[in-house]
């Protein structure tokens, strides 16, 4: 059981000051031009209230949409190669939801699978997460179906739960304790009652889904479901657990740089071979890949799901490819 404390709003604001005094930037959801998105903040007052989710995920703090890996220049008889250094700023991610905090484990599974990715790890080492439990949800949320919950502590270094006058704080990790140590006087003994958390009924049994997927591989449901899919990358790019990237070389005859950029299995180009053959020739195969990677490959290879049930993909999809609904349908593929 993690250590529990009470943090008043004033104490939390003071903690923000202490964190900045310690040289850390604070990224938090803010309301700007009608959008809730992660931005640097200085005070608690700048943090959005009453949001369910940001549109993009917090993964960009450790896995940005584009980053330079190396650069090189060439002259007759010589090549100069320069490794890029990760830009890893000491950062506190404040106010992200428990689902998103849990998403970092799915990124870690790939970035530390065989080779330890120094860009990802440099940023993770500098990152601490103060999650905030959910008292609200919307129709896209399904964390409880994938092993999470509105008060899940997974991935957070400190988890706050709204309570009268402020928050209850669970200090969960060494990184969390290091934050507490910056201003221990702000963390009062837990007294008040936490606000009731959002009720997110489980929609499907993920273990049963994982067990069933192998037999559904050739089912027509994937083509049927994917008829509506436009094949864009919105779902993958907002996903806190989607980790696929493309390596791009931007070069001329004398110099160049190598970049890593987000990619998506929903794109037709994703598996296009140089020969012109595409093993996933239609959107149904690509949609199936998205589902299988998260709910079959991830459990098989990493012992966890590649989905945290945040519902960002559902909210971002221009044509409402509701993931929870499609997975529920896969568990009972009966069509009229």
């Amino acid at each position: 059981m993690a250590d529990q404390f009470q943090l008043s709003s004033a104490s939390l604001d003071a903690l923000f000051t202490a964190l900045q005094g310690d040289g850390r930037r604070i990224l938090a959801p803010t309301d700007r031009d009608g959008r809730t998105e992660l931005n640097p903040v200085q005070t608690l007052g700048q943090v959005a209230r009453d949001y369910v989710q940001t549109a993009l995920s917090a993964k960009e703090t450790v896995f940005p949409k584009v980053e330079q890996l190396l650069s090189y220049s060439m002259a007759p008889g010589q090549v100069e190669l320069v490794d890029a250094e990760p830009r890893a700023l000491p950062t506190v991610l404040f106010g992200i939801r428990p689902c998103e905090a849990g998403g970092f484990a799915a990124l870690d599974a790939v970035f530390n699978w065989d080779t330890r990715d120094r860009f990802f790890n440099a940023r993770m080492e500098q990152l601490a997460i103060i999650g905030v439990a959910c008292t609200r949800k919307d129709d896209a949320c399904f964390c409880t179906s994938v092993g999470g919950g509105p008060g899940s502590t997974r991935g957070s270094d400190i988890l706050l739960t709204p309570a009268a006058g402020g928050f209850l704080a669970q200090v969960l990790t060494d990184k969390g304790r290091a934050i507490q140590a910056l201003a221990p006087e702000l963390f009062a003994p837990a007294a008040g009652l936490a606000a009731p958390l959002a009720e997110v009924p489980a929609a499907f049994d993920h273990a049963a889904l994982t067990a069933r997927l192998p037999e559904l591989f050739d089912s027509p449901i994937w083509d049927d479901q994917a008829l509506r899919c436009l094949g864009c990358g919105a779902c993958a790019f907002v996903c806190p657990a989607c980790v696929c990237f493309d390596i791009q070389e931007e070069a001329d005859k004398k110099a160049g740089r190598r970049l890593r950029a987000w990619d998506s299995c929903g794109f037709a180009m994703f598996t296009l071979h140089a020969s012109g053959h595409n093993p996933r020739p239609a959107q149904g195969a690509r949609w199936r890949q998205r589902v299988y990677h998260k709910f079959a490959t991830y459990p098989d290879r990493y012992g966890m799901l590649g989905c945290v049930g945040c519902g960002k993909c559902t909210r971002a999809c221009p044509v409402d490819m509701n993931l929870q609904e499609h997975l529920t349908q896969a568990m009972a593929p009966v069509e009229s």
Binding site: G34, R228, L230, C232, G233, A261, T314, P318, D320
Partner: protein, 266 residues
């Protein structure tokens, strides 16, 4: 006859292989739906919340594979279908557009002429709100407008939701996906984003049917439709024609006429 009855009838008779319409989506929204069997027609709804331009599905190979489809079409989709005919991407017999009136009654629009006559009764495509946004942008200085778009495009993640939802972005091999050579940088950095949206706006100039789906599709809320809307307005001002008005429309930017008002081209 209402849409559900019409869809059942069309699917029962085999006149079409699918009826492309809308169904209830997450949180009271409407989303595209394919009814492929008479029993699936019951899902269909049609109201003001149905905004997606369904014409973008008509040219997808997954849809073409089904055979002839009927489309429960909003005006934006009808304009797109006409423009697709003008660009010889579909023929009249490939698609059966269905217009649904305020009372929910359905009329078949089996010919381009029928679509044109139906659209002639509809108000112009650009909403008052978008007109206001365009005017506001138009009044900015170049430097201010540049700053506005730099800010907006800085948030782009290059997911291509705008391209893929666009009924006129039907190219099976988009310039963005050409990698031998790679014309436009793939990563979502400043140059990659800017070049992508510039190219797309220019490719849509004179072809944009102003449905606004690109702007609606954007997951990060960039009003990207204003770029192509503006390009379309410019073409209209210069050449006096609008994309989606007729199935016989010469593309303004690639059509030579001996009586062109510009002397340099003659």
């Amino acid at each position: 006859m209402d849409l559900i009855e019409k869809a059942e009838q069309l699917l029962q008779s085999g006149d079409v292989k699918a009826v492309l319409g809308f169904e209830a989506g997450t949180g009271g929204t409407r989303r595209p739906a394919f009814a492929r069997r008479p029993g699936q027609a019951r899902r269909l709804v049609f109201d003001d919340a149905c905004v997606q331009n369904l014409a973008s599905y008509v040219t997808r190979k997954e849809t073409r594979r089904l055979g002839k489809v009927a489309v429960a079409a909003r005006p934006g989709a009808l304009r797109a279908l006409l423009q697709l005919m003008a660009e010889r991407q579909i023929q009249e017999q490939d698609v059966l557009p269905l217009a649904v009136d305020a009372a929910g009654q359905v009329a078949e629009l089996p010919t381009a002429q029928a679509i044109e006559e139906h659209l002639a009764l509809e108000p112009g495509p650009v909403s008052a709100r978008d007109r206001e946004l365009l005017d506001r942008l138009g009044k900015l200085s170049r430097a201010e407008r540049w700053a506005f778009w730099q800010g907006e495009l800085g948030r782009c993640v290059k997911c291509y939701a705008c391209r893929n939802s666009c009924p006129m972005c039907y190219c099976e091999h988009c310039t963005m996906d050409c990698n031998r050579p790679q014309w436009v940088p793939v990563p979502s950095h400043a140059l990659g984003n800017l070049e992508y949206h510039m190219v797309r706006a220019m490719h849509l100039a004179g072809r944009c049917v102003q449905c606004g789906d690109c702007g609606r599709a954007c997951p990060v809320g960039i009003p990207i439709h204003l770029l192509t809307f503006n390009a379309e307005e410019t073409v209209h001002a210069q050449f006096g024609q609008r994309a989606g008005a007729s199935a016989k429309l010469d593309y303004a930017l690639s059509t030579f006429r001996p009586d062109d008002k510009e002397t340099f081209i003659r």
